[in-house]
């Protein structure tokens, strides 16, 4: 455990553990509402925000937060125009975000190492200030999900029924999308913008293979994400790799192992 002597590794692990909690709990609702693409959309919006920060010379995470939350609200507003095609509003905002990001990057002439660290994730780039913001955001996300667990579960299962029971579904949909945006901003420093969406989806996909209830789906996905993050950070420390890549590849390996084990066990029983 010599790697934990370094301040930057301690920070990376704290960040990683927060990520392995918030990504799957938000991801569970994202996957079950069939909105898997939303991660890509909001992460590209945060890329535009980071470029805006570099251009305007302010703290890039604020830029990311403003842009991704704005995109989240945009998705929800557009969704009303395409009620049967939620994914269409997501694709539209994705296109806008990518376009804006590319524009901002070329304007700021900021295609540099700093930007690369945001795209691919970084261990050493996580500053003390980043950690404070990530921790604050993560706690807000976790507490929100705990408090609104039954409401979010009901909406994911049966939105009409939830509305009839008196749940303010419109407000909660917007709030949830904003939580998703915050999750992405909190996780992107370590995992990287390009891979953040996988962190929302892959551990949940693995968990759904074996879980026997909604609660266990969420808990198992946190366990899988935790394994992937801890192993991924360790590997990327020793082999000097981009942590996002290591974490995501490991998540996929876990998913394949789960599917493989399940098939093997089923064969043995039947």
């Amino acid at each position: 455990m010599e790697m934990l002597q370094y301040d930057f590794m301690q920070r990376a692990f704290v960040a990683g553990i927060l990520i392995s909690i918030i990504c799957p709990i938000i991801g569970t609702f994202v996957v079950l509402r069939r909105l898997s693409m939303i991660g890509d959309t909001l992460s590209h919006a945060s890329l535009a925000g980071i470029a805006a920060g570099m251009l305007g010379n302010f703290y890039p995470l604020w830029g990311a937060m403003i842009f991704s939350v704005a995109a989240a609200i945009g998705v929800e507003k557009l969704r009303k125009n395409f009620s049967q095609y939620a994914e269409l509003s997501i694709s539209i905002v994705l296109s806008a975000s990518i376009g804006l990001a590319v524009l901002m990057i070329s304007l700021a002439d900021s295609f540099n190492a700093d930007l690369m660290s945001f795209l691919f994730g970084s261990i050493i780039a996580v500053t003390g200030r980043d950690i404070i913001i990530m921790a604050g955001t993560s706690i807000f996300i976790i507490v929100s999900v705990l408090l609104l667990y039954k409401e979010l579960l009901y909406i994911a299962f049966d939105e009409e029924g939830a509305a009839l029971a008196g749940i303010p579904t419109e407000t909660l949909n917007i709030f949830f999308t904003v939580l998703t945006a915050l999750t992405i901003v909190a996780a992107m420093r370590v995992v990287g913008i390009l891979m953040i969406s996988s962190m929302l989806v892959v551990p949940v996909a693995a968990s759904m293979q074996i879980s026997k209830s909604f609660k266990s789906t969420m808990i198992n996905s946190v366990i899988f994400a935790f394994l992937a993050v801890v192993l991924g950070l360790t590997i990327s420390y020793y082999f000097n790799l981009a942590p996002g890549g290591a974490i995501v590849v490991l998540s996929v390996v876990i998913l394949l192992l789960v599917i493989g084990t399940k098939k093997y066990i089923l064969k043995r029983i039947v």
């Binding site: 049966d158 939830a162 009839l164 029971a165």
Partner: protein, 247 residues
């Protein structure tokens, strides 16, 4: 004379300019066991959604328990099981208990915690519909008829005074259908729940039901039970009733 618990007055509704309901009115009294019949596309589901506030009429008023629907808040008093309730995402990883618990919302409130009495209520309604043994099973792994029962339990958990059901017996075999009507009778007579169901199943209608409403040409007409029903029965059985109905 009892006053109606639900009153829809002069409802007009259209989809993209095509009139579906045209001056339709409906009064539902406590204790009613009402069937709403009518041909496909006559607006039965639409009328039900308007009565439960899921759709807004273009004109007309809806009063729930004496309150205008726009001011009504006590949604737990109304249960609703939509048409094709069982066509949800069958891969959704929730247990029977989790699904029923979800509808405790109207008792527990925003961000409220579920307590021991709530859990007991969940057990009670699952027992009532005969699904208690299945409470830890994934909802998607049950048969259509079993899922139907779970949805009834889900609606009952908020202790509704009225239960709306949109074609609840579609896709249920004859035996389960008998059980279903026995359960409905029990809910209506023993638990004093007013029941309103859309159905095409005229045969079953005449046995259990106290009032029959027929939707045609955008209006709701009441049929008496008995003699009148027999004629309707026969006509409907030949699938021509909807077209030559002489309202």
């Amino acid at each position: 004379m009892k006053s109606p618990i639900i009153e829809a007055k002069n409802i007009n509704f259209d989809y993209e300019g095509r009139s579906i309901l045209n001056d339709a009115s409906l009064e539902i009294y406590p204790g009613d066991f009402m069937a709403i019949i009518g041909p496909n596309g006559s607006g039965k589901s639409t009328l039900m959604k308007i009565c439960t506030g899921l759709m807004k009429p273009r004109q007309g008023s809806v009063t729930l328990f004496g309150k205008d629907i726009n001011k009504f808040k006590e949604w737990g008093r109304i249960g609703y099981i939509p048409q094709k309730a069982t066509s949800f995402n069958q891969g959704f990883p929730a247990t029977v208990e989790e699904v029923v618990k979800a509808n405790l919302y109207s008792r527990v409130g925003l961000m409220g915690r579920v307590n021991k009495q709530h859990i007991e209520k969940v057990q009670e309604v699952l027992d009532l519909v005969g699904m208690l043994d299945f409470k830890d099973r994934l909802i998607g792994r049950l048969s259509g008829g079993q899922q139907q029962r779970v949805f009834i339990a889900k609606a009952l958990v908020s202790s509704p005074e009225i239960l709306f059901m949109d074609e609840p017996t579609t896709g249920i075999d004859a035996n389960s259908e008998k059980d279903f009507y026995a359960l409905m009778d029990d809910l209506n007579k023993e638990q004093n729940i007013t029941i309103v169901m859309v159905t095409h199943d005229i045969g079953a209608v005449s046995k259990n039901i106290s009032r029959v409403i027929c939707l045609s040409r955008g209006k709701a007409h009441e049929h008496g039970c008995g003699v009148d029903m027999a004629g309707l029965n026969e006509l409907y059985g030949h699938d021509v009733a909807p077209l030559i109905h002489n309202h």
